[in-house]
Subunit: 579 residues, 2 copies
């Protein structure tokens, strides 16, 4: 591509709403342009990187027997009602009514659509196993779209779905996709971790996330320093490295005044007790919110040590809800307890109380008195109140004990780029998608589903691979592998040589960008660093006088002078041509 | 692709809602499956044909300087309000409100989106010309989706947009795209016509449609038998081959009873006058309907010869409306005229009367009396009523005079697969999309837009290229070029040879389907004819004993015996490998 004839405009500054480096770099390099929050046009460079990544995804999936189809984005309501997800998906599912007052949604995921697609085709166990995938545009109504392609309303996904006759088959399909994903992210040269994760609205009993490591990643990961354990913090068991068990004898309960002591920090300072020996009480509703007519408040209390944070995913599971439970408002808390949030506790409540494991080792602790400005001391569970259940409800953290070894957990930040789910019969049973087994008996399919955020991965790669000057593309998905800077535009010989090299490499099958704009060398170098193609070749009058060109490797910034006649073979050596 | 491991299921019968051959064949061959009316999943075969067609489109467009981007499908309302098309597009535009009560539409076309995309980049005439295109999924809320991919609610389009500094440049861009489209459809080997057309909601003063000829085509085309004139009937001037001009002297108007004579046919029989000498009166509202608060009925009457049909596109233009005008209801007609539709006429009306050219040559004609059961005879325009305007308002028909020569018009049916529009400044002025010209003065871009229905073309090709047994793919977009029927599955030698040929051709870069199912030969041949790949190779024990295989050309059904050792070179000769 010749820059002078291309729609490629770089920016010195990113707009204010670009918060993380990759978002800024994608905007500045003209890769994406916002049409509306979370909705972008992909420029030619972004599209080239996306298409290259898609090709890698296709290759690795088809190697493993997956077959490509393309499903619609527009789904009728009836389809999603078959699994009850029309309700369960909540407001994140974009919905519309057409001119005939018929309801549709824009697919955020395609379990229903694919199950409908195959359910009349896959009649017999002889038709199994089957794995179908698509690369397609998806929609999610993010409350607050941000971080560019990371959390958008419209994005490109690869989603694959496997159908098997039994659990063993499904787990084999899962393993094949797991390995396929490793191959895919390995080919990008990306640093990533595979972690246990929450299945969210998709469901299923086994699931792993593929997380590209990056400081700006939205996900917190905890990885063992001495086993293969790795988990998204959402599902990471929380185990104190040093168990916190008091052996004190129970003391009699006592109310005391705590005027204006509203936070745990206040209370720790006021009482002289460490935060991890205070107990805080949080309030949620166990109403799933799925039935808009059901307005009943189903309040529950949750007890945690003052130093811990609640893990809403764990609470969701304990309560058996489809989505994270909502916190009560201050007014609702007051209605339930008689006090404002800072002064509440479990003693005397008539609602279910869930206690975190961390609290169970404490004795004679302090809780709110359910009376504004007062707390109770010397409280003991079993004596002063009875929890409905004790469970792992807190967020794990760095330094906690590894659940699989005696090691400790280390913290990383990650960007979720892939997710594999073993679904079992969750969808097939609800949708009556069955096949005849060897005995002629109808059985529901064992399913799995497997997603890769295609547009998101391209940005995640930039988030992981950049420096202060710009992007550092891995060769595998670089929009162009070679960036030629033609420095002395008006020098006929230089221009001819640069163009010849451009033509030759292009004909050989390389993707080459030729910067033939009428700009100063420094300006072009800055842009080349920003765009970040793996190799830059400078064609300038000075070096060409000595029969040489400069080759700069973007990653290392190492500069080599190469005899002009050897530039093609130099590139071929650095970037082997596929075939 | 090996059939035994593929998701490929053929059907003997098409469902009842498949009306035309191509729709039936696409369903029967498993190419598409309906999720909802007008919404389909593309199976692997369809996707392969689509991808091949897309590659041809890309190649021909990029040869002509177009550059690929990818715009979103989700557009904010504000964008479409800039050009007033949020209102003008009517209910065909699918609209949705998100969780924040913000309105979006699903792009049916992208003039606004692309103009927004470039308007801050293209600052100077030096940035021009520019031509950007995308291949993307589009949405249109068809009232009655039918004919498979022909008239769907979700479909794949290629849309390109050109930006030039002046009209000459824009017309050059138009010409380049016009020629690009010719190259594209020529590469498919398709029979097509390029016709003048209506610009519809897109707008612009020059426009051509590319119409694939097919009996089941939705569009009526009229093509001159002796000039290069060709037009969609929507815009075809209607000129009587033999001018119909009466020289009779005007007679006095007379009312007469016509009990129960409601149609032109009735009236012709009742009066003994030929239909083309009777005059019928139709009623429309000139209210654009764009402003839902504006309920004013703006009735107009239209006069046509009894034998002619109104062309609503022509009336739309005469009335200056953005969409086809709506007919009045019977009640509204009665309110305006005092009579029911069958007894209405222009005499005494206080609303504007538009008269078709065909009526202007008539004298002493019969019209409704605006009194139920009565007509007037000996009516003459100018005397008994005064038309507001006389214009070409009727549908042209086969046998009419060619507007560009003394020849006549011939009728064809076509499927619109491409459309090129010269837009001028319609969008750029409204959206304040300007560049600085050579004199440093801000000028609005001269634009063009260019669409190809990608998914529709694939079906249109099938509509044009099929026989009683199935599809007849042109090599250019055949999902597979070669279809190998392995006939004696259990014969090891046959199976080995068939698989070797499959592997060899696949490695060479051919797309090959190997039918390795455990089915009878006749069953496989039927399926092969249905799927319609250009060449079928039969590997059977009998012919292989003589060292031969059978090759059947799908198009001609001609069968050749080819020595098994020469089958590769035979195929290479028939289907030259690209590159």
């Amino acid at each position: 591509m010749k820059w002078s004839k291309s729609h490629l405009y770089t920016l010195k500054e990113a707009p204010n709403d670009a918060e993380i480096p990759s978002h800024k770099l994608m905007i500045r390099s003209g890769m994406i342009k916002k049409l509306d929050p979370g909705i972008f046009t992909y420029g030619t460079l972004a599209l080239k990187a996306i298409r290259k990544f898609e090709a890698i995804v296709r290759e690795e999936l088809e190697k493993r027997g997956a077959q490509e189809v393309l499903m619609p984005a527009l789904h009728p309501k009836e389809l999603w009602q078959e699994t009850n997800r029309w309700d369960e998906m909540g407001p994140g599912l974009m919905r519309l009514k057409n001119r005939n007052d018929k309801w549709f949604c824009l697919g955020a995921t395609h379990e229903e659509a694919i199950t409908d697609y195959v359910r009349n085709d896959l009649k017999s166990y002889k038709d199994l196993p089957r794995n179908l995938y698509q690369i397609q545009t998806k929609y999610r109504d993010e409350i607050r779209p941000r971080f560019g392609l990371m959390r958008g309303r419209e994005f490109i996904m690869k989603d694959a779905y496997s159908f098997d006759m039994d659990r063993d088959g499904a787990l084999k399909a899962y393993q094949a996709m797991y390995e396929g994903y490793q191959a895919i992210f390995d080919r990008l040269g990306a640093k990533y971790r595979i972690v246990e994760a929450d299945a969210g609205n998709i469901g299923g009993s086994q699931t792993h996330e593929f997380q590209l490591l990056a400081d700006a990643g939205e996900d917190a990961l905890l990885v063992s320093d001495s086993s293969d354990f790795a988990a998204n913090i959402e599902v990471c068991p929380a185990i104190d490295a040093v168990p916190h068990v008091s052996t004190a004898a129970p003391l009699p309960k006592e109310k005391f005044a705590t005027p204006n002591q509203k936070t745990i920090k206040d209370l720790a300072a006021f009482t002289g007790q460490p935060e991890n020996e205070l107990v805080k009480t949080l309030f949620f509703t166990a109403n799933s919110g799925l039935d808009p007519r059901d307005k009943e408040l189903k309040p529950v209390a949750v007890l945690l040590r003052g130093s811990d944070e609640l893990n809403p995913t764990k609470l969701k599971k304990v309560l058996g809800l489809p989505n994270d439970p909502l916190m009560l408002t201050d007014a609702e808390v007051k209605e339930v307890t008689g006090a404002n949030p800072g002064s509440c506790g479990p003693v005397g409540l008539s609602i279910p109380v869930y206690m975190d494991n961390g609290v169970s080792g404490l004795k004679n602790y302090i809780v709110g008195a359910n009376e504004d400005g007062f707390h109770l001391k010397n409280i003991n569970h079993g004596t002063d109140f009875t929890p409905k259940a004790t469970a792992d409800l807190r967020m794990a953290r760095e330094g906690d004990k590894c659940p699989k070894s005696n090691g400790k957990l280390q913290a990383f930040r990650g960007i979720e780029v892939g997710h594999v789910f073993y679904l079992g019969k969750k969808y097939s049973e609800k949708m009556k998608a069955t096949f005849l087994d060897k005995n002629g008996k109808a059985q529901a399919f064992e399913m799995g589903c497997y997603g890769i955020g295609v547009s998101r991965t391209v940005q995640a790669i930039i988030e992981q691979m950049h420096d202060a000057d710009g992007i550092i593309w891995p060769i595998a998905i670089a929009p162009f592998q070679v960036h030629i800077c033609l420095l002395d535009l008006k020098d006929e010989k230089v221009s001819k040589k640069a163009n010849e090299t451009y033509e030759k490499l292009t004909q050989m099958g390389y993707d080459v960008l030729l910067d033939d704009r009428d700009e100063r060398p420094g300006f072009k170098f800055k842009d080349a660093d920003l765009l970040g193609m793996p190799f830059r070749i400078n064609f300038g009058a000075k070096t060409l006088e000595h029969g040489e060109v400069e080759v700069v490797e973007r990653k290392t910034k190492a500069m080599n002078k190469v005899p002009e006649g050897q530039i093609i073979s130099y590139i071929v050596e650095k970037i082997p041509l596929k075939k």
